[in-house]
C-alpha cells in the first residue's frame, strides 16, 4: 500500500485561474472548507494573459445594451450551437459578477461620468467589454487572488490559521479524480517541488483547469494548457462535449519564430486597427458571410464612420467573430497575398496618434518593441492565426455546472463545454469564468454539505494504481515494453506538429484519419516515456505525465472533427465547406472506450475514445423570439422552426 499524506476537505478546486478562484471564493463563503490545487504559483494562471476585457451588458457606454442583446450576440457567435441556457445565465449574470469585483478592490478604466468604461469587440453589437488597458486578465486574477487572501485574513482572525478554511496548494498537479462507486471521493496529486504524492479526500471536486492549446504547435496558450481537466473528467467517466471546436485566434505574432503564436489582442481592432494584405487592401470586406451581411459595413468609409457614430453606420468587418477573421487571414496568405513572414498586416499606426496607442494598448506596444523590434506606433504588425481556446469541454448541467454522470464532479471555465457553442466571442471568456465559477462553487458546496457525515471513502486500490501510474516514467526501461525509452520533449513536439498540421484551422478527412494513426503510434511510444533524475522539481517527469492528457484530448478533437461533416465556427472542413442546418442541433460526446478507466487500447482504428451523437434540447421559445424569423431560417432546420 502506498504511504501518502491525506487531508480532508469539503470542496477541492483543481485550477486557480479565474473560474477556479471564483469557485473557491463562493464555496468558502458558503461555509465549505475549500482547497485549491494549481500547477503554477498562486496568481500566475493563464487568465493573466487575457487582454481585451470582460463582456457584460452594463450599458455604461451604450444605453441600448441589455442581457438579451448580449445573449443574441453570443448565439450568433457560436452559430446557434450554444447550450442556450448557459448563454442565457451568462448574459444575465455577467454585470453583477463585474460589479462585485469592484467591491473586492478591482480598478477598471472609467467612463467620463465615473462608471466602468466599456470597449468594442468582435461580434458584440455594443461596446461591452469592461477593461483595464490591455491587461484585464491580470486585474481579474489579482482581484480574485486578493479576495482569497482577504478571506484567509478573516479566518486568521477567527481561528489563528490563515489556511483553516481556504488553502491554496500551489505547484501541485492532480493526476486522478478518485471515486467510490459512481461518486467522487477525492483527488490524487503530486507536489512538484518534492515529487511527493498526496490525497485530498473530498465529496465534491470542481475542475477548472482551462484549455488544451499545448497540443498544438502554434498557440497563445501557456505550458499549463495540457488538457488536464478534460482528461481527468474522461478518466472519471464524464463525457466531453463538441471537442471539434477549437478557436484559432486570428491575430497571433508570426515573427520571430520563438514568439510565433503569442497573442495580439482583439482590442487592436476594437479600437480602430485594420487588417491589410500585401497589396495594401483591407481584405475583410471580401469575407463577410451571408449570415452577417446586414450587420457589417460595405465600404471603408462606412466602417470608419461607425467608430464615432455607431447608431447610423455598420461596424467594419475586421470586427467579425474570430472564426471568420481567422479563416480570411488563412485564405489571403494561401493566395499569396501575405506578409513577409507568412501573416497579414495589422495596422494601428495610421489610425491613431502614437500617444493614444501607447495609452490604450500598452502591453502590445511593449510586446512588439521588446520581442520583435517593431514600433507599432510607426509601422504595421505582422499577424496570423494561433490556437487560442477550446469551445468543447466537459458536458455540464447549465444551472449547476455539475458534470454529467459523475455525482460530485463540477466544471467551470474553459474546461467546461457548451456555453460558447462552435465559436466564442472575445470577452465572453472572462465573464464565463466568473458566472460559472461562482455557480460551480455554490453547487459543489451545497452538494458537499448534503453529504456531511456520509462522505464517500477513498478506495486504497485506486490510490495505489494512481501512484504506480505516476511513477511509471522512472522505470520506462524495465517496463517490459518493446524499444528504448522515449524522450518526452520529443514526443510532445511530434504531437504538436501532428495536431497543427492535420487537425488545424482547415481540416480534411484524409488528414484527420492520418492524425488518428499518428496519435495511436504516439500513445504506444508515450508508454515508454522515460525520465532522468529524481522526483524533486523534475520538468521531464511532469511533461511525461501531462502527455497522457494531451494524447487523450487530441484524440477527442480529431475523432469529433472527423465525424462532423460540416463547417461551423471553430471547425472548418475543406471537404464540407458549408454550414449544415441538420447539424445545428447535434452534439458530439466523447467518452472513454474502456469504462473502467483503463488506457490499454492502442488500436488506432478503435483508439481510447468512443463517440456518440445526441440531439440538443430545443431552444426555449421566448429566447428564440429575440431573433427575427429571417435570421433564424439561416441557422435552424425546417422542423425546428415549425415547433
Amino acid at each position: 500500500m502506498s504511504v501518502v499524506d491525506r487531508q480532508e476537505w469539503d470542496v477541492v478546486v483543481v485550477g486557480a485561474g479565474g473560474a477556479g478562484l471564483r469557485a473557491a471564493i463562493e464555496a468558502r463563503e458558503r461555509g465549505a472548507r475549500t482547497a485549491v490545487i494549481c500547477k503554477s504559483l498562486f496568481g500566475k494562471a493563464h487568465t493573466v494573459m487575457a487582454e481585451g476585457g470582460i463582456a457584460a451588458a452594463m450599458a455604461n457606454a451604450n444605453p441600448h445594451d441589455n442581457w438579451q442583446v448580449h445573449f443574441r450576440d453570443t448565439l450568433r457567435g457560436g452559430k446557434f450551437l450554444n447550450q442556450w441556457r448557459m448563454a442565457e445565465l451568462h448574459a444575465q449574470e455577467a454585470p453583477d459578477r463585474v460589479w462585485e469585483l469592484e467591491t473586492w478592490g478591482a480598478l477598471f478604466d472609467r467612463t467620463k461620468d465615473g462608471r466602468i468604461s466599456q470597449r468594442n469587440f468582435g461580434g458584440h453589437e455594443y461596446p461591452r467589454l469592461a477593461h483595464v488597458g490591455d491587461r484585464t486578465g491580470l486585474e481579474l486574477i489579482r482581484t480574485l487572488q486578493q479576495k482569497i487572501v482577504a478571506l484567509q485574513q478573516e479566518d486568521f482572525e477567527e481561528t489563528g490559521a490563515y489556511d483553516s478554511r481556504l488553502k491554496v496548494f500551489q505547484e501541485c498537479t492532480v493526476t486522478r479524480v478518485l471515486k467510490e462507486g459512481e461518486r467522487v471521493s477525492g483527488v490524487f496529486a503530486y507536489e512538484r517541488e518534492t515529487g511527493r504524492f498526496f490525497v485530498l479526500e473530498a465529496p465534491a471536486v470542481v475542475v477548472a483547469t482551462g484549455g488544451i492549446g499545448k497540443s498544438f504547435k502554434v498557440t497563445s496558450n501557456s505550458w499549463e494548457y495540457t488538457g488536464d481537466g478534460h482528461a481527468l473528467a474522461l478518466l472519471a467517466g464524464a463525457p466531453l462535449l463538441n471537442m471539434e471546436f477549437v478557436q484559432f485566434h486570428p491575430t497571433g505574432m508570426v515573427w520571430p519564430p520563438s514568439v510565433k503564436g503569442i497573442l495580439v489582442t482583439e482590442s487592436v481592432r476594437g479600437d480602430g486597427g485594420v487588417l491589410r494584405n500585401s497589396d495594401g487592401k483591407r481584405f475583410m470586406f471580401d469575407y463577410v458571410p451571408d449570415v452577417f451581411k446586414e450587420k457589417y459595413a460595405e465600404s471603408e468609409e462606412e466602417g470608419d464612420r461607425w467608430y464615432d457614430d455607431p447608431d447610423h453606420n455598420r461596424r467594419p468587418p475586421e470586427l467579425l467573430p474570430r472564426d471568420e477573421v481567422a479563416r480570411a487571414i488563412n485564405a489571403e496568405v494561401k493566395a499569396g497575398r501575405g506578409s513577409p513572414h507568412g501573416g497579414v498586416f495589422l495596422d494601428v499606426s495610421t489610425r491613431m496618434p502614437a500617444e493614444v496607442i501607447r495609452r490604450r494598448l500598452p502591453s502590445m506596444y511593449h510586446q512588439f518593441k521588446e520581442l520583435a523590434d517593431v514600433d507599432i506606433t510607426a509601422e504595421a504588425m505582422e499577424v496570423g492565426p494561433t490556437c487560442h481556446y477550446v469551445m468543447g469541454g466537459i458536458a455540464v448541467e447549465s444551472d449547476t455546472a455539475a458534470a454529467r454522470g459523475v455525482p460530485g464532479l463540477y466544471a467551470a471555465g474553459e474546461v467546461a463545454g457548451g456555453m460558447h457553442g462552435s465559436n466564442r466571442l472575445g470577452g465572453n471568456s472572462l465573464s464565463d469564468l466568473l458566472v460559472f465559477g461562482r455557480r460551480a462553487g455554490r453547487h459543489a458546496a451545497e452538494y458537499a454539505q448534503r453529504l456531511a457525515g456520509r462522505r464517500p471513502p477513498v478506495d486504497e486500490a485506486q490510490v495505489d494504481t494512481a501512484a504506480a501510474e505516476a511513477l511509471r516514467p522512472f522505470s520506462a526501461e524495465t517496463a517490459g515494453e518493446a524499444g528504448p525509452p522515449e524522450n518526452p520533449y520529443a514526443l510532445h513536439q511530434e504531437l504538436q506538429q501532428t495536431m497543427n498540421d492535420l487537425v488545424g484551422i482547415i481540416r480534411r478527412e484524409g488528414e484527420m484519419e492520418q492524425a488518428l494513426h499518428r496519435l495511436a503510434e504516439l500513445r504506444v511510444r508515450a508508454r515508454r516515456a522515460g525520465v532522468e533524475g529524481h522526483r524533486q522539481f523534475n520538468p521531464g517527469w511532469h511533461l511525461a505525465l501531462d502527455l497522457r492528457n494531451m494524447l487523450l484530448v487530441s484524440e477527442c478533437v480529431a475523432r469529433a472533427a472527423l465525424e462532423r461533416t460540416e463547417s461551423r465556427g471553430g471547425h472548418t472542413r475543406e471537404d464540407h465547406p458549408a454550414m449544415d442546418r441538420a447539424w445545428r442541433n447535434v452534439n458530439l460526446l466523447c467518452a472513454l472506450a474502456d469504462p473502467t478507466g483503463g488506457l490499454a487500447s492502442t488500436d488506432p482504428a478503435r483508439g481510447q475514445i468512443r463517440l456518440t451523437r445526441e440531439t440538443t434540447d430545443p431552444i426555449r421559445p421566448d429566447l428564440l423570439a429575440l431573433f427575427e424569423k429571417e435570421e433564424l431560417v439561416k441557422y435552424l432546420a425546417e422542423e425546428e422552426l415549425y415547433e
Partner: protein, 257 residues
C-alpha cells in the same frame, strides 16, 4: 535566419549546494533566454528545473539572474548579448534555492497576507462605485505589477540580509500599501486602519533608503520608488520623522529639472 552556438553557465543544484555547469547550445534569430533554457531541457538536461508559464512577459514566473542581473528570461532577447560572451544564469539570490533555477518564493506570499485587504465603503453597493480616471490612474500603475518578485530580489534591504525579512515587506508589498492608500474608495480609515502608519510601523518602510534598485529591474516599468515609496514616506512623515524623505524630495526635484 542565422544560428550560432552560444556558451552558457547555468547553476544546478539544490539546498545542499551546487554549482555552475557549462553548456554549449544553438541560438536562432529572435530567441530569448527562456528559449535556450527550453532547448537545454529538450536536448541536454531533461530534468533542469525552471519556472515559466506564459512566455510573454505577463505572468512573472521565469525570474532569474542573467549575468547577475535580475530579469525575466522570457523578455531577455539573446541579441542583447555579444555572441562571444558566456551567459550565466543563476537563481534569484534573495530566496532559498529549491532546485536549479527554482527558488522558494514563499516569503512574498507570507508578506502579501500581512497587508490588510481593500475595505469596501459602507453603503455603496455593487454597481454604485463612481471613480474618475484621473483618480484611479495612480493605483492602476501599481496594479500593473506581475509579481515577478525581481524588485524583492534586488532590494538590498533583504538581498543579503536574511535578518531583515521579518520586519520588511519589500518594495512589492509596500507598493501594495500605497496602492490601497491611494484607492479612491478604500474605507480603511473609517475602520480605524491607518495604512500610512502601518507602512512605517509594521511593514518596514523606514528600511528603504530609496536607491531605486527596485524601479530599475521592474519589467513593467513601474516607478516603484518615485510613485509609491516616496509618497508613502511623505504621507508617513507627520507621524514619524524620516530624514530620507527630505533627501528623497531633493533627489526628485533635481531629476525633474
Amino acid at each position: 535566419m542565422s544560428s550560432y552556438e552560444a556558451r552558457f553557465k547555468v547553476w544546478r543544484g539544490d539546498e545542499q549546494g551546487g554549482g555552475l555547469r557549462d553548456f554549449t547550445v544553438e541560438v536562432n534569430d529572435g530567441e530569448v533566454v527562456l528559449d535556450i533554457v527550453h532547448r537545454l531541457q529538450a536536448t541536454q538536461a531533461p530534468d533542469l528545473a525552471v519556472r515559466w508559464n506564459c512566455k510573454a512577459g505577463k505572468c512573472g514566473s521565469c525570474s532569474a539572474e542573467i549575468n547577475g542581473r535580475p530579469r525575466l528570461m522570457c523578455m531577455t532577447r539573446m541579441s542583447v548579448f555579444d555572441r562571444a560572451e558566456t551567459i550565466t544564469i543563476t537563481p534569484l539570490r534573495a530566496f532559498p534555492v529549491v532546485r536549479d533555477l527554482v527558488t522558494d518564493v514563499g516569503f512574498n506570499y507570507r508578506k502579501a497576507r500581512e497587508i490588510p485587504a481593500f475595505v469596501p465603503p459602507a453603503g455603496v453597493g455593487p454597481g454604485e462605485y463612481r471613480m474618475f480616471q484621473e483618480d484611479v490612474d495612480r493605483s492602476q500603475e501599481f496594479r500593473k505589477c506581475i509579481e515577478c518578485f525581481l524588485c524583492q530580489d534586488t532590494c538590498h534591504v533583504v538581498r543579503d540580509h536574511e535578518e531583515n525579512k521579518q520586519a520588511f515587506a519589500g518594495p512589492r508589498f509596500l507598493m501594495r500599501v500605497a496602492e490601497l492608500d491611494m484607492h479612491p474608495l478604500d474605507a480603511a480609515a473609517e475602520t480605524g486602519l491607518d495604512r500610512k502608519r502601518t507602512a512605517q510601523d509594521e511593514h518596514g518602510l523606514g528600511y528603504c533608503n530609496i536607491t531605486k534598485c527596485c524601479t530599475e529591474v521592474c519589467p513593467e516599468g513601474i516607478k516603484i520608488t518615485d510613485n509609491a515609496l516616496i509618497p508613502l514616506k511623505e504621507r508617513a512623515v507627520d507621524r514619524k520623522y524620516d530624514p530620507l524623505v527630505w533627501l528623497g524630495s531633493k533627489i526628485r526635484r533635481r531629476s525633474g529639472t
